[in-house]
């Protein structure tokens, strides 16, 4: 069974939820610690939500320097699957493992609700769902506006790196882009929380697609 490492940074909040979600989709969850450079032989890595080191600077800006991040970068460069959710997405952008950067929501308020996301590219990260289909996943963030200059955006789209778009503009993200990958497609990040959409009792289970990718890779 695929071993999926979930990194706990100081201030991570959804790490235990992510570990549980990995188990829900059939993976073996492995807790990883920010201060270790040891990935414990995992097959995939999940960077969870929260506020790493308090995020008193730009969100994710400090976490990129955590001892484990060097190992994550090597793992990603070797093609290993890496998923960043919320603060994990912010960290991956700050670490230049994903394009763009996350800035405060345009409404200047934290927002927690279910959102509809439109599939923009058929990808194993979204269970190869057809383009144009809608999935539902909750968001909860204050700094969720993904920003990317117009230059290079078309290239991201053409490469199929834009996986999901918000059905409506909730936070001011460039072109309502919600989920992107790196050029190689093995590193994926999004502000919505797929690990909170895996249990039918709690709502949508569309998050199983993204978390499930970590054990299928």
């Amino acid at each position: 069974m695929a071993k999926v490492g979930v990194i706990t940074f100081l201030g991570s909040l959804d790490d235990r939820d992510a570990l549980r979600a990995v188990a829900t989709v059939g993976g073996t969850p492995v807790p990883l610690w920010h201060g270790d450079a040891d990935l414990k032989g995992v097959d995939a890595i999940l960077l969870p939500g929260g506020f790493s080191y308090g995020d008193h600077l730009r969100c994710g800006a400090l976490a990129r320097f955590a001892p484990i991040m060097g190992a994550v970068a090597e793992f990603a460069a070797a093609g290993g699957p890496v998923l960043g959710i919320c603060n994990g997405f912010q960290i991956l952008c700050e670490a230049d493992l994903l394009p763009g950067i996350l800035t405060p929501n345009h409404g200047q308020r934290f927002i927690c609700r279910d959102v509809d996301l439109i599939v923009e590219a058929a990808s194993p990260w979204i269970g190869n769902r057809p383009v144009g289909e809608t999935i539902t996943v909750p968001v909860k963030h204050g700094d969720g506006a993904w920003f990317h200059p117009q230059e290079g955006l078309a290239e991201l789209e053409a490469n199929g790196q834009v996986l999901l778009r918000y059905a409506e503009d909730i936070n001011g993200s460039t072109d309502r882009i919600a989920c992107i990958t790196n050029a190689a497609g093995n590193v994926c990040g999004l502000m919505p929380h797929p690990e909170h959409a895996v249990d039918p009792l709690l709502g949508s289970i569309d998050g199983q697609l993204l978390v499930g990718r970590l054990i299928a890779a």
Partner: protein
């Protein structure tokens, strides 16, 4: 122990001449400045409950599920599977009125610490807010600040916000209320006491450094010794650091998990002074602290400042010397400072030193047990001797459809989604029912069981009749929990009142507590924790007497919990047939010219049967949605169900009151609950078995809300109801 206190100083610190004389007797000598500062705080109303303790004894505190009643940091109930649930509600009213963001944020921080000090992982927050006229700039600023503060702290520590309520009433114009409740889960065997024991054991302080924040009234002492004052009188509102708190939670829980500690206590009001004396008192043992070993945020703090500082995010532990290394290692892992600041000693004194110099030496019992208690002098206000409103004196009934639309848009009834959306509702992975329902529901980790929790209270109703209002505050919270399928286990309460030494407050307080206690007994919901907030008043007089009740209930199978959304085609049954009244209703307050009259009483035995029906119907899968009528009466409750279910609803009510508008929009003493079912016969039979009045009143379906009483019809399209209900709050807080 050099200087003796200036004989007038005690008055500046809020102690009376008699209290000072008692201190001299208890000490056997005059106290010094340090000792006087400690007494002034521990003998304050906030710490010593000197006006309320005798009255609070009226509450029932025992029950078959109670593992820990009042007296510790939080109460704990047994929920089966070897799990306990710890919970408490606490106020942070005064700081929030001064600085709403930090006041509300640190209110959340404080109540979290009370819960994890018990060894419980916090899994849910609820909050109850009261503000003045929503049209004023001041109210908007306070509301926005408090909501952002609660969100900032709760979102950053990763504890889900699952409910609560917000009410506006001119009576809170000068004194807003911010009450926060926290619920935590623990292995029943991990239950921790905030005790110190074992001579030679160490007292360890961990978490944030200590600064001059929250020193408050005692700052007059600083000015005794420092010439150029000003700079050293820091603001008395504390500043919160949720990132520190998050690490404090994980460190504390790992210490409890590994059974490293003898006792664990948070630092709250009166800081070390309160925490150390309470731990010593529970032993009972003596405690010796060296204040020079407390890590400081700023240099040159005086001993008394270190002792009473209310710096946030600090915990105090009692540790055997052989386990100190484990405490240090866990603190290092989570990057927290920890320091041995004292030890458990023979005797029964709290002895404080700065290095080798003794700065204070006080018998612990004098601080904790000998705090003076004052009997209240309840005088029944003549204004309470009134009859219910004479229906004949009311203006003629308006158009029922228009009234329904107006009511749905009132700030006290309209959707609070714009507020709740600013809170993380789902972290922890257990939130089954999110905020906005009758109660929030959160599944317990590693269990199929869930907890339902509600936080409620009506100052307006308690102001009109404190005994009945007290009963109804408990009944409402209990009923809301039962609506989601939760079997009520126990309650916590925060008693927000005015000055207990004058006016009608003593009477209102005693009567409200009596009413609450009666309801707790009748509904089998003992009080396991709570908090009293007095002196909530300004030049305009006291706030409306506001007991806020938090109820926690158990749902055996989380999958059987229900919300307020009926399915298309469901039959709607009305449980309860009490007569709604205009007195004290939102309808009266906002649309009929103001609050007056006398609220109807509640039949507590009938309410207990109603609770049984709600719980059994949900557990058996007979009902799939339930919603109780509150502000706006049965018609508004029906509209809210339709909005929740995104489906129309059509119901026909019998005339329950003298006038049809009162049947539709009035508010009764006993509960009216609308229940959606696909098996009406089973629900009616269940209700009959419990002797609860039940009536088939209509169905869910279509896209129209229609509530009729005889010829009077309130009818709105679902879309216009949603429009009226959802635009008020976003406009008020300036959110889109």
């Amino acid at each position: 122990m050099n200087h003796v206190a200036d004989p007038s100083l005690h008055r500046q610190l809020g102690l009376t001449d008699d209290e000072y004389a008692q201190i001299v007797v208890l000490m056997g000598r005059d106290p010094n400045h340090f000792e006087l500062a400690v007494f002034s705080l521990l003998w304050s109303e906030h710490c010593g409950y000197k006006h309320s303790r005798a009255v609070l004894r009226r509450f029932p505190t025992d029950g078959p599920t109670v593992l820990q009643g009042p007296g510790e940091n939080a109460g704990v109930v047994d929920v089966g599977d070897g799990l306990g649930v710890a919970f408490k509600v606490e106020s942070h009213n005064h700081p929030s009125a001064v600085e709403p963001f930090q006041g509300a944020a640190t209110g959340v921080g404080g109540i979290l610490r009370d819960v994890f000090a018990m060894g419980a992982r916090p899994i849910a927050i609820l909050d109850s807010l009261r503000f003045g006229d929503p049209a004023t700039e001041r109210t908007r600023r306070l509301l926005d600040g408090a909501v952002r503060g609660i969100g900032h702290y709760g979102n950053c520590v990763g504890v889900a916000n699952i409910g609560g309520e917000v009410r506006f009433d001119p009576g809170y114009e000068q004194s807003c209320l911010v009450n926060a409740m926290c619920i935590g889960v623990l292995k029943a065997s991990d239950l921790k006491s905030a005790t110190a024991a074992g001579i030679g054991n160490l007292v360890v302080l961990f978490g944030a450094r200590t600064g001059r924040d929250g020193i408050g009234g005692a700052s007059v002492l600083a000015s005794q010794d420092i010439d150029a004052g000003g700079d050293d009188k820091r603001p008395t509102v504390q500043i919160g650091d949720p990132y520190m708190e998050k690490r404090l939670i994980e460190t504390s829980l790992e210490l409890v998990r590994d059974d490293v500690l003898v006792g664990l206590q948070d630092l709250g009001a009166a800081g070390l002074a309160s925490s150390a004396s309470e731990m010593a008192s529970r032993g009972p043992v003596g405690v010796k602290l060296d204040l020079a070993k407390v890590p400081l945020r700023e240099a040159d703090m005086e001993a008394f400042e270190i002792m009473i500082s209310e710096s946030q995010e600090r915990m105090l532990a009692c540790v055997e010397p052989s386990r100190l290394a484990e405490v240090e290692a866990l603190c290092a892992r989570w990057e927290l400072e920890c320091s041995v600041i004292g030890e458990v000693v023979e005797g029964d004194h709290l002895i404080c030193t700065m290095g080798d110099t003794v700065v204070g030496d006080i018998p612990v019992a004098a601080l904790v047990d000998d705090c003076p208690r004052y009997a209240l002098d309840p005088q029944r206000p003549a204004r309470l001797d009134v009859e219910p409103v004479d229906i004949a004196s009311l203006p003629p009934m308006g158009d029922a459809s228009q009234l329904l639309e107006q009511l749905l848009a009132l700030p006290n009834i309209a959707s609070k989604a714009a507020i709740f959306q600013q809170y993380d509702q789902i972290v922890g992975g257990g939130t089954v029912i999110r905020p906005g329902a009758d109660a929030g529901v959160v599944r317990l980790p590693g269990s199929k069981r869930a907890i339902a929790a509600a936080l409620d209270g009506s100052g307006r109703r308690t102001w009109l009749d404190p005994r009945r209002g007290g009963r109804q505050a408990v009944a409402e919270a209990v009923r809301n929990v039962a609506c989601t399928g939760g079997r009520p286990l126990a309650i916590t309460n925060c008693l927000n009142f005015g000055n207990p030494e004058k006016g009608e407050t003593p009477y209102m307080f005693v009567e409200a507590v009596e009413g609450m206690a009666e309801a707790c007994e009748a509904l089998h919901a003992p009080v396991v924790s709570g908090n009293v907030s007095l002196y909530n008043e300004h030049s305009g007089g006291p706030i409306p007497p506001s007991p806020i009740v938090g109820c926690v209930g158990l749902i055996e199978d989380a999958a059987m919990s229900i919300g307020a959304a009926p399915r298309n085609g469901a039959t709607i049954i009305l449980l309860g047939d009490a007569a709604p009244a205009v007195d004290g209703s939102e309808y009266q307050a906002e649309l009929l010219g103001g609050v007056a009259g006398r609220i109807p009483d509640i039949d507590l035995a009938a309410e207990a049967h109603l609770i049984d029906v709600l719980v059994e119907a949900a557990a058996a899968g007979i009902s799939h949605a339930a919603h109780d009528a509150a502000e706006g009466g049965i018609a508004v409750a029906a509209a809210e169900m339709a909005i929740a279910g995104k489906v129309g609803i059509g119901i026909e009510l019998p005339p329950l009151a003298e006038r049809d508008d009162i049947t539709l929009f009035g508010e009764a003493g006993n509960g009216h609950v609308l229940v959606a079912t696909d098996d009406a016969d089973a629900l009616l039979a269940l209700a009959a078995r419990h002797g609860v009045p039940a009536l088939r009143v209509g169905t869910a379906g279509g896209d129209t809300i229609r509530v009729a009483v005889g010829p009077t019809v309130a009818e709105l399209s679902l879309a216009s109801a949603v429009g009226a209900w959802s635009t008020t709050l976003p406009a008020l807080i300036g959110a889109s």
